[in-house]
Amino acid sequence: MAILETQELTYTYSMGTPFEKTAVDHVSLKIDEGEMVGVMGHTGSGKSTLIQHFNGLLKPTSGKVLLDGKDIWADKDKIRDVRFKVGLVFQYPEYPIFEETVFKDIAFGPKNMGLDEAEIKRRVYETARDIGLKEELMERSPFELSGGQKRRVAIAGVMAMEPRVLILDEPTAGLDPAGRDKILSHIKRYHERTKNTILIVSHSMEDIATFADKILVMSKAKLFCYDETVNVFARADEISDIGLDVPQITKVFGELRRRGLDFGKEVYTVGYARDLLLKHLNAKGGTLNC
């Protein structure tokens, strides 16, 4: 069943001025509970504006956002509750860190929810484990930590609110490959434990290919597509046309197809490509160099 739904969602900036710009244009989509969704689109495609509607930071100019089938703007005073149910981790989330200790910073969200001490403590420690922060870090100042650790503290701060939907805007921006892999694997583990819905915005197709069940692509304020990962990568040519990169491996297999070697359209990870090639090579017969 759909946990998040938008109906003809439209958002226009600076209405009635010469700078008027429609950032999200009649977007209708349904995101099912428990899915791991990759969100793509280049800067200015409307993806950041779209995700800020999911937790009520922005109010639609027209159209609706439904959470559990209920319009989130039906009762304006309850909008803060929506923010607890739909957690949003912004880009470079470590910038807004401000507390003296890691524990306090992660506890900021749960405290705002009005939870009692014991519950706050439980949640902070649990999410710290999920995101791979050691317990001895909890009483340290977050400002002494490394870039990757700070980033994880910030993500834990949102996870600790135990939102039913977790949205992360480019959680790996600026990190090195090791930092990136660590964060993505911890998010994956969190997903497996909680079965919560997760949306991750990323510019890296290679990354999205490794974790997403479904991909949402925005282009020029409109929803370009929202579909299973396999089906989206099968449209690699169209994706390239709207200016997005497809994984290198997908490009290679596209080129092979053009040259008469067709292995199907759904190749986007190295592991899959290897298995596929080996299978075909073996099928070709034992005379190979393999």
């Binding site: 800020q52 910038y95 807004p96 705002n112 949102v158």
Partner: protein, 267 residues
């Protein structure tokens, strides 16, 4: 041309007022202030008003924009006018009710004051409306440059000012982002009681300060890498050149000033 510096109240345009050399504009504005306060008669104020509105018309900026700059100060103006009116007790009494009385000189003083201040605001708004903040900073630096001889840090002040101008949009954007991020964690910033809001302000100010310090640090390194070493021996890309129109504008202003002084003496 430099319309892209949108902070402050700069209204881009290419009127003759916009084109004046900013150094002259500052000097002219100072003379203008002297003019407003040197004449003691209504006639002098009329001359001042003619000068003000003449310049406004030349700038081609709608008069209502000037009204906008006066409006926020209205309550203050009204209060001081009323106080002046009631506290000046010398001269002929025009109106009296119990212990409150209004005298002719009281009326004159407060009217004078209101008109002068309104004209003053309009005139100085004309300067900021037609000159971008960065140009203004530059002009101030050059006007004050003789003070360097007495070790006054003119260049340093101007550099600070222009860096501040450069970073205002960046910091505004950053504040916005931090606010959104804290709101997403349930911080009540535009709702909630006064104390929660004040407390939550900390969650915005602390990151903002930290970020500002980091930026300052990185900027300092970047400036050093580009051979910055203070104002000594610096040349400038921005050239300020005075044209005949600058001298004409200055001459007109001086004429008005002399006129006002003479008118004041006659009356």
């Amino acid at each position: 041309m430099l319309r892209d510096i949108t902070i402050g109240q700069y209204f881009p345009g290419d009127s003759i007022i916009h084109k004046l050399d900013p150094r002259f504009k500052i000097v002219i504005t100072l003379l203008y202030i002297v003019m407003l306060f040197s004449g003691g008669s209504y006639l002098c104020l009329v001359v001042g008003a003619v000068y003000t509105f003449g310049a406004i018309l030349l700038s081609r900026i709608p008069v209502k924009m000037f009204w906008k700059s006066v409006k926020p100060l209205l309550p203050f103006l009204i209060i001081t006018a009323v106080l002046n009116l009631l506290l000046m007790n010398t001269g002929d009494v025009i109106w009296q009710w119990k212990f409150l009385k209004i005298t002719e000189s009281g009326l004159n003083t407060s009217l004078f004051m209101v008109i002068r201040i309104v004209l003053l605001i309009m005139g100085s708004s004309l300067l900021t409306y037609t000159t971008s903040p960065i140009t203004l900073t530059d002009a101030i630096e050059r006007l004050l440059s003789p003070l360097r001889k007495v070790k006054f840090p003119v260049h340093e002040l101007a550099m600070m000012m222009s860096i501040a101008l450069r970073f205002i949009p960046t910091l505004i954007e950053e504040t916005d982002k931090i606010m959104s991020a804290q709101k997403a964690r349930g911080a009540e910033i535009d709702t909630g009681s006064f104390t929660t809001r004040a407390k939550n302000l900390i969650s915005i100010l602390v990151p903002l300060f930290i970020s500002a310090f980091r930026r300052a640090d990185e900027l300092a390194t970047a400036m050093e890498c580009r051979c910055y070493h203070g104002g000594d021996g610096r040349t400038r890309l921005r050239q300020l050149r005075s044209a005949p129109r600058d001298y004409i504008a200055l001459a007109i202003t001086v004429l008005f000033l002399v006129g006002v002084i003479v008118l004041g003496k006659i009356a």
